[in-house]
Amino acid sequence: MRHTISVLVENEFGVLTRVAGLFSGRGFNIESLCVAPTLDPTISRMTIVTSGDDRILEQINKQLNKLISTIKVIDFTGTDYIEREMAVIKINAEEKVRAEVLRIADIFRAKVVDVTARSYILEITGAPSKINAIIELLRPIGIQELVRSGPVVLGRGTKAWKAV
């Protein structure tokens, strides 16, 4: 089962290696990983998408918590949360498909952020399923290059996760 986990870590040298090494060393799977500093610059927030059965997920949670550099681990699975990912897509925009690309972009509320005579770059944010959907529609037209950020998540409602 797919799980999205946020990890608050000390924003220090080598912390990404500790987390990534933990996953590779113990044979856990990482689907995606996003990391950037939080409002408090001494703390970084990682969002990790992983998968495994309950036993593996319990180990992932515990092992992450065991790292000295880890301050908090939050598994959002089974809670109400917002999940957003960004994709930037360079797409073929030859004369005969230009309008179709724009129509699709419009439906998905994607923005055109770069234009040439033969290509567009689209920027889109949304749940990973939405990104998947636009990619499937654009694929036959000719995607030349694509980058996805991997999802970031935040729990809904007023409750906020703080570091300590």
Binding site: V9, E10, F13, G14, T17, R18, G21, G25, R55, E58, Q59, K62, Q63, N65, K66, L67, I68, S69, T70, I71, A163, V164
Partner: protein, 565 residues
């Protein structure tokens, strides 16, 4: 007052109460070694950095204090890796300090540069690269705190040469503030109440004890619990000395080379109380048939150990002394029910006795050739109760676990998790440095001994009177045994064909060498060694193709032991 980084390091060690360290000098620690001459810290110069770490490890296991090792950058640092991994697998508190090339050179493939922080990340509890001398005191404080608290483990501090030379105001912090590290010591009382109920409902309880009981010095609490509920006790290799093996409730070791009765008891029990153990594959055998009828209570300070390998009905996270103390207290409050439990448990203890009677731990004695097990029994007979025994890894290690009656905690030092050949001699060196007056004996094989035999020099130089018993069969015996049993006796590369005269080797280093080739010489050799002041090698020419029995073949269940024929 402003101090250099190297002096700050040494000041911190003194403030941590460290009086002995083990190490080996080199270019990037030369400043530290220079300042060391002015500090009240005894430095023991081993002949290899791996041995320095094993020695610090033996010092830590025997004394309960944090062991400290010091090595230079590059090859010095990489030589510490096996020692660090050994300590990590057995949760031994160490602080290992490595020199590093000056910070401007890091990443440039400088002379004797190695990314030791990267290399040791998966085998340390935590590690540090010190980039600024201002951070040094805090980092050392944290390193000792992390090493000794919670589930203990090794911590590496990589200290670049320019940081050692830089100066700053020295102030040793009086406490640490690690927001990501807060080990749970106090066991949750509700869980302990639940455990009390489970214990009181059991009819066939077994207590299964691991190295955690040694690390937390929980022997007396453990014994109280076992005696109160009259539950038979089995230990892992690491838990061995925490429960006296001669105690009527002791079943000895469980697992691959455990006793038949311990393995049968675990298979048949209805309650398994796991205490500071981690259900290692050498203990459980086939998971599917491990304790199939039992409810499992698992007490451990490390949450990751719980439910990692086996299902657990009741997890309790906490320090063993705290949890066992509370559990005993709760049980004592239910005196009547405990009486009922003890009554109910009588047939169970009888069943265990019957298994023990049917298949006791035994070996065939011989008149013409020395049996290795006999040597081990004799060493027990002739040494003090608190003698510290170390081993290397292989057959001799298992025979020691099977035939040596350990009576006191922290008297058995062995590499359990990693299984490091070459551990025993330097570990004995470290233990002897911690306890100069106690008997320290390294029980070794001829294969393992040669992995760190250079440490004979260290023993002689520092007058550390370690006695080394080499059970010499001219084989890498454990692998040979597997080849015999599972590979049609095809002894590929396990015969150490060159016969070595270990007594002459001892003499070359200025130690004493003794040899026994017949059973009747064994006792005399051991007596003479124990009477000798300095280090001694006792070489025992033992039965060459003796096997460690009984045995659970790899992948089989604990109830499928192969017994000695």
């Amino acid at each position: 007052m402003k101090l250099t980084g190297s002096k700050i390091l040494l000041e911190c060690l003194v403030q941590e109460g460290i009086d002995t360290i083990f190490g080996y000098p080199g270019g990037t620690v030369i400043n530290i070694y220079n300042d060391l001459m002015d500090y009240p810290i005894k430095h023991i110069l081993t002949r290899h950095e791996q041995a320095a770490v094993h020695a610090a490890d033996g010092y830590a296991r025997a004394s309960g204090k944090v062991g400290v090792a010091l090595a230079t950058s590059g090859p010095g640092a990489t030589n510490t890796v096996t020692g660090i991994a050994t300590a990590y697998m057995d949760s031994i508190p160490l602080v290992v300090i490595t020199g590093q090339v000056p910070t401007p050179l890091i990443g440039n493939d400088a002379f004797q540069e190695a990314d030791i922080v990267g290399i040791t990340r998966p085998i340390t509890k935590h590690n540090y690269l010190v980039k600024d001398v201002k951070e040094l005191a805090r980092i050392i404080k944290e390193a000792f705190f992390i090493a000794r608290t919670g589930r203990p483990g090794p911590v590496v501090i990589d200290l670049p040469k320019d940081v050692q030379m830089a100066t700053c105001k020295f102030e040793y912090p009086d406490k640490v503030d690690l927001r990501g590290y807060k080990p749970t010591y106090s066991g949750n009382i509700r869980m302990i109440e639940k455990a009390t109920k489970m214990v009181l409902q059991a009819s066939k309880p077994v207590i299964y004890v691991g190295g955690g009981a040694a690390l937390s010095d929980a022997s007396s609490e453990l014994q109280e619990l076992a005696e109160l509920i009259q539950a038979p006790v089995t230990t892992t290799l690491m838990g061995m000395a925490t429960f006296p093996k001669t105690h009527p409730l002791s079943m000895g070791m469980l697992g691959m080379h455990g006793t038949y009765y311990a393995n049968m008891a675990v298979t048949e029990c209805d309650l398994l109380i796991a205490i500071g153990a981690r259900f290692d594959d050498r203990v459980t055998g086939k998971i599917a048939t491990f304790a199939p009828h039992a409810k499992i209570i698992h007490v451990d300070i490390d949450p990751t150990s719980i439910k990692k390998n086996v299902r657990v009905d009741l997890p309790i996270v906490g320090d063993l002394r705290d949890v066992l103390g509370k559990l005993v207290k709760k049980l004592v409050e239910e005196a009547d029910e405990v009486k009922g439990l003890v009554e109910r448990g009588k047939p169970w203890l009888e069943a265990v006795s019957a298994w023990r009677k049917d298949h006791p731990m035994f070996y065939k004695t011989a008149k013409s050739v020395i049996k290795p097990q006999y040597v081990i029994e004799k060493i027990r007979e002739l040494t003090a109760e608190d003698a510290i025994i170390t081993t290397e890894v292989g057959q001799h290690q298992m025979w020691t676990a099977q035939f040596f009656d350990f009576l006191k905690p922290r008297t058995f030092l062995t590499s359990g998790g990693l299984g490091t050949m070459g551990y025993g001699l330097p570990a004995a060196l470290g233990a002897q440095a911690a306890f100069p007056e106690r008997q320290v004996i390294d029980i070794s094989g001829d294969g393992s001994f040669q992995m760190n035999s250079q440490e004979l020099a260290t023993l002689v130089q520092y007058r550390l009177p370690v006695k080394i018993a080499i059970l010499n069969n001219n084989f890498l015996g454990m692998v040979r045994q597997w080849q015999q049993l599972f590979f049609d006796k095809r002894y590929s590369q396990t015969c150490l064909e060159l016969p070595i005269d270990f007594t002459k080797l001892a003499e070359a280093y200025g130690a004493t060498g003794l040899r026994a080739t017949k059973p009747e010489e064994v006792e005399g050799v051991i007596r003479k060694a124990l009477e000798t002041k300095g280090p001694v090698i006792m070489e025992f020419k033992v039965a060459r193709e003796e096997n460690v029995m009984p045995m659970v073949p790899a992948g089989a269940g604990l109830n499928e032991m192969v017994l000695a024929s």
